[in-house]
């Protein structure tokens, strides 16, 4: 699995100049995806998950931002790509499932128009008619029976669940190598969200695409991902195989996240994590979790990303595994 990663992110930094000063949003994020691997990136709201994903898609490019580090896709350096270069990558080799189907589809164009355009940009040389046929085919494949009617509809005429399925179809129709899914379906109710993930699992399996699933819900990670990265305030604080992470979380933040997951069985209410993600313009020096960490002590400086057991890494000076 670790043989030849298909997507690697190395020491990624994102700085945004703002009115209040420079925000150092991503502080050395590193992660990788093996071919066909399903990996989750979890963390509280505002910890930088979407920023990481958007950089990998080349969609983080405001004039007030500076990005450092390396992102490679099958060996190609993505950060150096120009507009034209990106067009050969996006939608074809790496694509994205957006969070909110109500906001991610253009309200004044039909679903068909948007799906057909996505197909044709990903596979130039496809005629409109061919692309339309492929779009209908792809919709039928995800059990949308009246595909033609759906293609002729505008997003607001369809249900949120249906639109979400369309977004997933769009992301996979050109058989990309990597799919980034930023909280897919989290704008919808829980059952639809589950269906969404099940569908993504089935489709990506079929295509052999690797998935980077972004979520702040550890609950959905267990059934979906093979490996997990836990992110806090712009850094990866823990990485492990899913089963291992749930069994023996090592970082105090991961432990707190797990304690915050509502359980069907078990004792007591979920425990929310006290405090909040620190201010990016003036982050704590050293371990950024320190202000909220129940185990913080003088020895907590700037901990390295250690690997106490193979495949399980943690950024904390102490080892709390039980």
């Amino acid at each position: 699995m670790n043989a030849d990663p298909i997507l690697t992110v190395e020491d990624l930094h994102l700085r945004i100049r703002q009115f209040e000063g420079e925000a150092h949003i991503l502080n050395g994020v590193s992660l990788h995806l093996g071919a066909g691997e399903r990996v989750a990136l979890v963390g509280e709201s505002g910890c930088g998950k979407s920023s990481t994903a958007l950089i990998a898609m080349g969609l983080m490019n405001g004039g007030n931002m500076s990005i450092d580090g390396r992102v490679t896709l099958e060996g190609t350096d993505l950060l150096g790509l120009g507009e034209r270069g990106w067009r050969n990558v996006r939608g074809r080799q790496i694509s994205m499932v957006f969070q909110d189907p109500g906001a991610a589809l253009n309200p004044v164009f039909t679903v068909g128009d948007q799906l057909v355009t996505a197909i044709r940009r990903g596979d130039p040389g496809t005629s409109r008619a061919e692309a339309h046929e492929r779009a209908a085919e792809a919709l039928r494949h995800v059990h949308i029976v009246d595909a033609e009617r759906v293609l002729a509809s505008y997003p607001f005429q369809l249900s949120g669940g249906l639109n979400q399925r369309i977004l997933i179809t769009m992301a996979l129709v050109n058989r990309p190598r990597v799919v980034v899914a930023d909280e897919p379906g989290s704008a919808l109710d829980v059952t639809v969200q589950e269906q969404t993930l099940r569908l993504m699992k089935a489709l990506t399996d079929e295509v052999g695409a690797a998935v980077l699933l972004i979520t702040h819900n550890l609950g959905v990670v267990r059934t979906f991902a093979q490996r997990v990265y836990v992110m806090y305030s712009g850094t990866i604080v823990e990485e492990a195989e899913t089963a291992r992470l749930f069994e023996a979380p090592r970082h105090p933040y991961t432990q707190a996240l797990l304690a915050a997951v509502p359980r069907l069985t078990g004792e007591g209410l979920p425990q929310p994590i006290p405090g909040q993600v620190p201010d990016y313009t003036d982050p704590p020096v050293g371990c950024r979790f320190q202000p909220r960490c129940p185990h913080a002590r003088a020895a907590c400086g700037n901990p390295p990303f250690a690997e106490p057991e193979p495949g399980h890494r943690v950024r904390c000076v102490l080892d709390f595994s039980g």
């Binding site: 067009r87 909110d100 906001a103 991610a104």
Partner: protein
């Protein structure tokens, strides 16, 4: 289909509004102080003469009856006799309105065809030099009244540089086409009189620009603002994530949603131009409705006032209807609202 039903609904609404306006203006025209009959006949007329005039104008009947007769005549295309020109109001209006229309349409075209692309470019290159320059130009357009533009353009391009004619709609001695639409440029083109088309175009450039500048500025700023907002939407990010080209995003996937709110305002600007046209027409001696409109009000020419206001209202409503239909075409939410 759906667009048709929408159109019929809007048409019915517009007719109702026109009906309301006609009642209002009919009443208001009669509230302006002064006896129209006395004003029309002058101070030398005898009381009997004035009384006879009042009879002829049916001014002694109850207003409701007057209005009923007015509506009956209206359906025959008869707006009564103008006390100012002593000719039928209908023919007065028909002889001056087309020139005003031509001017306003030309200005609307300039406003849209220059203002909207300027806004698109500014939005596409947000915060660049182009954006700032466009913003400044637009602001200048908005804050300067159209008659100031008229004088300025005339001084620079007609007097100083002598590129365009100073006044009028066409040169003296130009061969004139038979009237088809009343729009001189269009009629000349239909008749194949290309020298006249060219001459009329040269005449309309300055007044049309003077009239368009305000709307042009609004169009550019509105387009830029709405496009910028659309650019921040997730569906634009999705378009980029699926390798749509920046050009097709700008001119199609961002433009159409951005034009929905923009067009409604532009429609209003278009209609406002009809009011501003009066001043521009004065400056450029444009043979439009300006003089007539002013004179009928000063002289309390009842039929003239009512006729002029009705025609302007109808124009306003027609423009609005066209805009609404274009917006409905662009915004499927409106088209499919009642499904």
């Amino acid at each position: 289909m759906n667009l048709w039903r929408y159109f019929l609904g809007r048409l019915l609404g517009s007719l109702l509004v026109l009906f309301g306006v006609s009642i209002l203006i009919f009443g208001v025209a009669r509230l302006i102080p002064g006896d129209p009959a006395r004003i029309a006949l002058g101070p030398m007329a005898t009381a009997e003469q004035v009384e006879m005039m009042r009879e002829r104008l049916r001014l002694n009947e109850p207003v409701v009856v007057q209005y009923g007769e007015f509506v009956r005549d209206l359906f025959r295309g008869d707006l009564g006799i103008s006390l100012y020109t002593k000719r039928p109001v209908t023919s007065d209006i028909l002889s001056t309105l087309p020139a005003t229309f031509e001017l306003v349409i030309a200005a609307a075209l300039i406003m849209t065809l220059i203002g909207v692309p300027l806004g698109i470019v500014a939005a596409r290159y947000r915060n660049s030099g182009v954006d700032r320059a466009a913003n400044l130009a637009a602001l200048l357009g908005v804050v300067t009244p159209s008659f100031v533009w008229a004088i300025f353009l005339m001084l620079v391009f007609a007097f100083a540089l002598d590129i365009f004619p100073i006044a009028g709609r066409v040169s003296r001695g130009a061969e004139l086409p038979p009237t088809v639409t009343g729009l001189l440029i269009l009629d000349s083109a239909i008749a194949g009189l290309w020298p006249t088309v060219f001459d009329a175009l040269r005449h309309i450039v300055l007044p049309a620009f003077a009239l368009a500048m305000g709307g042009l500025g609004t169009a550019a700023r509105l387009t830029r603002a709405n496009m910028s907002e659309v650019y921040d939407r997730q569906y634009i990010q999705l378009a980029r994530a699926f390798a749509y080209t920046e050009r097709e995003i700008a001119y199609k996937y961002a433009l159409r949603p951005a034009m929905v709110p923009t067009l409604t305002i532009l429609g209003l600007d278009f209609a406002i131009m009809l009011g501003n046209a009066f001043l521009v027409e004065m400056v450029f001696a444009w043979p439009g409705m300006a003089r007539y409109g002013v004179e009928v009000i000063i002289r309390k020419d009842l039929n003239g006032i009512v006729g002029t206001v009705l025609v302007i209202s109808a124009f306003f409503l027609i423009i609005n209807m066209i805009i609404d239909i274009v917006v409905a075409y662009m915004n499927p939410r409106i088209r499919y609202r009642d499904q």
